[in-house]
């Protein structure tokens, strides 16, 4: 399609101060104010490109802000807001191909498709991620080894870019894996077609296996060949103690379990406390002794019910438990939640992961939550997964510990490089350009810049993260 982006704006309009909104990274460690524009049509996107070109004011693309750092933030930019560009358009009952606009969240998609027995092939730990965010980050789930990344289940996507106008891109297109996993730097993804996964039951069989040592954990991951989902929670205060959890989909015909009413858990927790108020109680525990206590309790509870027959859980409750404690991350306020997530090759992980926890313990900055997953490499140009494991460490940043935490993050980053690590931009607010070069490789960065120079020759689209890491600058 040939679209001209020339504009008759003789003088760029002064953007309306009443459109300025404050956006946070998910963990509240990054903030930026920008001029929000709601996208309701393709024209809105093209118009924004024209305005950016005329005014020199950059554009930042923002999904639902579930990235922890500054990958969808840019101060004083035009922020294209996806909230109203969110329709699920169609679902083919034969093939299971679902077409949605990029602002549709994973939640909108499963609510649309699950009653007919279709589930998302890959999901993040939150269902509040948008389709655009899922594609731009090329997200992975607990089934990464079995099913790969989100982008591997896409038939096509449509993108509007300043340099090339509107295009439909299929996986055989040479730029597909630069756009998917391209962090919104090449253009605005408008819609995509996802190949959904057929299910007959909306439940999964979930089994926990407590571990005492890291060796036990890696053995569990390596010897588990018939699960659909694998993940481990580890105690940040007691290295090696944790809970390995696997889950299997059910092949029985259980139409009632596909209903939304079965999937969504109650909005109350123990003592009938409303879950959306839980962050206020959690706040009392958001400190070292509190989290040490809760972690110990969680592990003991799992020891009490070792890997017997497992328990049945609705898919939604299994995949997105945190979403049912709305705004849980506010328990970290007035500080912030900073996550460090890194992919480490298989042979290096058993040495690296305990070393991470030792460093954190030395600094008296133990992570309050540690999650380990097993992976295969992802096909994105700016890839972030290796054949091996990833570890995500949740740190509590306060005004007082901020300098110490930065030192620790630097130490962890250097340790990671020594083990051949790859970093996930969805969680980053801290890396330096040389870290990005080591993680992605100079070759990939150069190729990315080449794509950027064709899709966005005037560098209209940007983000604080890409400026910080100096990745997207045209050569």
């Amino acid at each position: 399609m040939d679209i001209s982006l020339d504009t008759d704006l003789s003088k760029a309009e002064i953007p309306d101060p009443a459109s300025v909104q404050t956006d946070w990274g998910f963990g509240y460690s990054c903030v930026a104010e920008s001029y929000h524009r709601s996208v309701t049509s393709v024209d809105d996107v093209l118009r924004a490109f024209a305005d950016a070109k005329a005014s020199g004011r950059p554009i930042v693309l923002r999904g639902n802000g579930r990235s922890y750092g500054d990958v969808s933030l840019q101060p004083e930019a035009i922020s294209l807001d996806l909230t109203r560009w969110n329709a699920v358009e169609s679902l083919d009952p034969e093939t299971g191909v679902l077409v949605a606009r990029s602002g549709a969240r994973l939640e909108d998609i499963w609510r649309f498709a699950l009653p007919d027995g279709w589930w998302l092939p890959v999901v993040s730990g939150t269902m509040l991620t948008t389709l655009a965010g899922a594609l731009s980050a090329n997200i992975h789930g607990k089934n990464n080894v079995q099913s790969g990344t989100f982008g591997e289940h896409i038939d096509w996507l449509e993108i509007a870019s300043p340099g090339r106008g509107l295009e439909r891109i299929t996986p055989d297109h040479p730029d597909f894996w630069t756009i998917v996993g391209g962090w919104g730097q090449l253009g605005f993804i408008l819609r995509a077609a996802i190949r959904m996964k057929k299910l007959t039951s909306g439940s999964v069989l979930v089994t926990d296996y407590p571990t005492e040592t890291w060796d036990q954990l890696f053995a569990l991951f390596e010897n588990d060949h018939d699960s659909d989902y694998q993940v481990a929670w580890m105690d940040g205060f007691r290295s090696g103690k944790g809970i390995y959890t696997n889950a299997k989909t059910i092949s029985a015909d259980e139409p009632a379990s596909l209903r939304t009413s079965y999937q969504v858990p109650s909005d109350r927790m123990a003592l009938r406390i409303r879950k959306d108020q839980a962050h206020k109680f959690l706040r009392w525990f958001t400190n070292r002794p509190g989290m040490k206590f809760l972690s110990g309790l969680k592990w003991l509870a799992a020891v009490k019910r070792p890997g017997d027959g497992g328990r049945m859980l609705p898919l939604v409750a299994y995949h997105f438990p945190l979403d049912f404690v709305p705004e849980w991350q506010r328990a970290y306020r007035p500080g912030a939640l900073v996550q460090f997530q890194v992919g480490i090759p298989r042979e290096a992980a058993p040495a690296a992961f305990p070393a991470f926890l030792r460093a954190a313990q030395r600094a008296k900055l133990e992570p309050y939550l540690v999650v380990v997953k097993v992976h295969r490499p992802d096909p994105s140009l700016l890839s972030y997964l290796c054949d091996g494991y990833s570890i995500a460490l949740d740190f509590h940043q306060t005004r007082r510990n901020q300098p110490r935490l930065r030192e620790l993050l630097r130490e962890l980053t250097d340790l990671s490089h020594a083990h051949g690590a790859k970093f996930y931009m969805a969680k980053d607010s801290f890396l330096l350009p040389e870290d990005a070069r080591k993680s992605f490789g100079s070759e990939a960065i150069n190729q990315f810049r080449w794509a950027k120079s064709r899709f966005d020759p005037d560098n209209l689209i940007t983000s604080s993260l890409f400026r910080r890491l100096e990745i997207a600058d045209n050569p």
Binding site: P17, A18, S19, V20, T22, E33, R57, E76
Partner: protein
């Protein structure tokens, strides 16, 4: 004010006196400051003192049509905004029998209309971003109509009322509006009055920043609060005979 309390500030009326001190102290606390005033040479001096922290923006608050654009230049250069201090003010010498409209008009325009122009755009932005602090530099002179400076008094009284209304409009959105009413401060503004015991501008700026987040009307000293509370209670027919 604690270190790092503000990251991005605009000080309007930043080239001398209290404004220049506010800029210095904000910059020292780690804040980036857009320093707005007409005298570019003075702003350059500040920018040289704090390179990368102080951004000089030469502008005249009386050019009302330009306010939105200058405001945008500030926010673009800063990369964010959490504090705006409107400090521009003039107080020309007025003789006891002088009724000079052009002087009076200039005072109303600089002290009040300029504030309204700047703070309206600020309020629009803060209302939408749901955070921010506005500080208005009023004066104890706005507490009563005194024989010496009828229009200066009126301009500051108007400013106080405008700031109070703004505070009431914005408080539910998490935006704080603080009115500061300084007494005598040793600056060019009042040099011709030969005040004794005027507070140094540096100290005034320190107190203003310390009280900036209060979201209410503030004097610089407790004694001022007591004295001016009393002065406000004096009936007009008695006040008329007091030579202040």
């Amino acid at each position: 004010m604690r270190q790092g309390a503000y990251k991005f500030a605009i000080v309007v009326g930043a080239s001398s006196g209290i404004g220049a001190e506010l800029v210095r102290q904000l910059a020292e606390s780690g804040c980036r400051v857009a320093a707005v005033a007409r005298r570019g040479d003075r702003l350059q001096v500040l920018a040289k003192e704090y390179p990368n922290r102080v951004i000089p923006i030469v502008a005249d608050v009386l050019k009302f049509d330009d306010t939105a654009e200058v405001f945008l230049r500030c926010t673009d250069a800063l990369g964010g905004l959490d504090l705006v201090i409107y400090n521009s003010g003039i107080m020309p010498d007025v003789a006891p029998t002088e009724f000079n409209f052009s002087k009076d008009h200039a005072m109303i325009e600089t002290n009040l209309s300029g504030a309204i122009a700047w703070l309206n755009v600020t309020a629009e932005r803060f209302l939408s971003s749901r955070r921010g602090t506005i500080v208005v530099i009023g004066s104890v002179a706005g507490d009563r109509g005194r024989r010496g400076q009828p229009v200066y008094n009126a301009s500051k009284a108007g400013l106080h009322a405008y700031a109070e209304a703004l505070r009431n409009r914005l408080s539910r959105s998490g935006v704080r509006v603080t009115t500061i009413k300084p007494g005598p401060v040793a600056t060019d503004l009042v040099a011709h009055l030969g005040f004794r015991g005027a507070m140094p501008a540096r100290q005034a700026a320190e107190i203003i920043l310390a009280k900036s987040g209060r979201g209410s009307e503030q004097y610089l000293k407790i004694s001022h609060r007591v004295i001016f509370a009393t002065i406000r209670l004096i009936p007009s027919w008695i006040f008329r005979w007091i030579p202040i």
